[in-house]
Symmetry: C2
Subunit: 269 residues, 2 copies
């Protein structure tokens, strides 16, 4: 196998590691890929680590020992995160997003891969320290956020469905009161989709009274899940008392009026 | 601003460009980021391009001129793609995935961010040459595949819903016969979610007779969409005659039997 120069190894190492977030890769793997000594790879990784840290592009963690290796932790710098959330707030605060009934149209932004990837990286930064094993959401609009959070955390995603499907075997179902449709709905999760007693993080797009989030927590109790945290993209200021006490919200909806059209969304501080 | 060494610039360039797939970035942007001459950045990009190409990690395209710049095209090499599809076929062909009714349980794999990102990169490689402006799917299980395809293509995602939601304004709806539930269902798309006459690619997880795909094409006609292609992760060999003629399938389901349990899925060739 031909030898690579340092500059070439750095390109390949950066591509590989940043596209396998939070996956522990042994130095032996790269040593073989480049036909290079592990000490050489170690020197490359120092350059990579210092550069990423200096530019707030993420953290490179090295674990010593036989079972060790290196992994990339995606992080969004404070300033980049602030700029992103300010920009998203402005996009969401356009009056033409107000739909008859006083609802907010935000589906286009929720399904945007660039936006969901950035928000997912922020959620992952907040929850990673708790060592979640799986991310949970409920269909449909929270899926992109939750998928990108799961990707950045390097864990699987499990999606709660609004009815039990014949194609997924036996399920556990509960009823809950959804704030947005103001009616009793069903949510369900196939038994085989989640092992008992897992460490989970719940991600959703929107929280008003918290009925849906509360339903998800109840359903997760049936699986003896340890809920480490709940993250939502937007929560409303009113009602102040939510049915769920402990959650992180990236943005807050301060006000939405249909006549005259007025809307204010801002980053949560 | 402090100066960066070549090795440092290569780490940062690789991180930035590979995480902004198919986005055209001007050399001036990097020139400012690193306080370096554009000619220096150009030299860096040659090293990056050759390394990525040599390792089949993607393509770096440079567009000359005033409106030019550089963009990263994610690609999965033929051998890596083959290994991925073989591995996925084996995972899907486990007999314990057969659910009463003769259905295949594959939700865990469809929602896996690593799997959906790889399959999305393959779809993007196949459809990029057609210059799609948007990726379309239908809720729920196709969303991760479609989102990752949209990310790799650097276009938005639009998700067709199974009922029209009050929170999304006026919608266009059609009825269709779904093969999996064997009943008439409704699919709908908010008017504001898709402009008239757009160039679209349709992505879904599974195709049997093609009823759902045909429904999507009919719905897209209402938006005067130009459907450039249809991509599904798995299609069944039977029925051979699908309701949709032109589609790409990554895997094919050759056989599934409940008694005795038997299943065969393989890459499409």
């Amino acid at each position: 196998m031909e030898k690579f120069k340092r500059s070439e190894r750095l390109v390949a190492l950066t591509k590989y590691l940043t596209h396998h977030p939070r996956e522990l890769i042994s130095l032996g793997f790269f040593s073989e890929m480049f036909s290079a000594a592990k000490s050489t790879i170690s020197e490359d990784l120092v350059i990579m680590r210092d550069t990423l840290a200096g530019l707030e592009m993420g953290v490179l963690e090295t674990l010593p020992g036989a079972g060790g290796g290196v992994k990339f932790i995606p992080l969004m710098g404070e300033s980049e995160s602030e700029v992103f959330l300010q920009g998203l707030s402005q996009q969401l605060s356009q009056p033409e997003r107000i739909i008859p009934g006083g609802f907010l149209y935000m589906t286009d932004l929720l399904f945007d891969p660039v936006i969901s990837a950035q928000a997912g990286t922020i959620f992952a930064s907040k929850f990673a320290v708790l060592n979640p094993e799986v991310v949970i959401t409920i269909e449909t609009k929270g899926i992109p956020l939750a998928l990108m959070t799961a990707q950045a955390l390097h864990v699987p995603l499990v999606v709660i469905r609004n009815d039990s499907r014949v194609t997924e075997g036996s399920s556990v179902s509960i009823n809950y009161l959804s704030g947005s449709t103001r009616r009793i709905q069903t949510m369900s999760l196939p038994r085989r989709s989640l092992r008992k007693g897992m460490r989970v993080v719940v991600i959703d797009d929107f929280m008003k009274a918290g009925g849906t989030a509360k339903g998800m927590l109840e359903l997760l109790e049936e699986f003896d899940s340890k809920v480490l945290g709940v993250g939502v993209l937007i929560s409303t200021l009113e009602p102040q008392e939510k049915l769920v006490n402990d959650y992180i919200s990236l943005l807050e909806l301060v006000d939405i009026e249909e006549q005259p059209r007025r809307i204010l969304i801002r980053p949560t501080h």
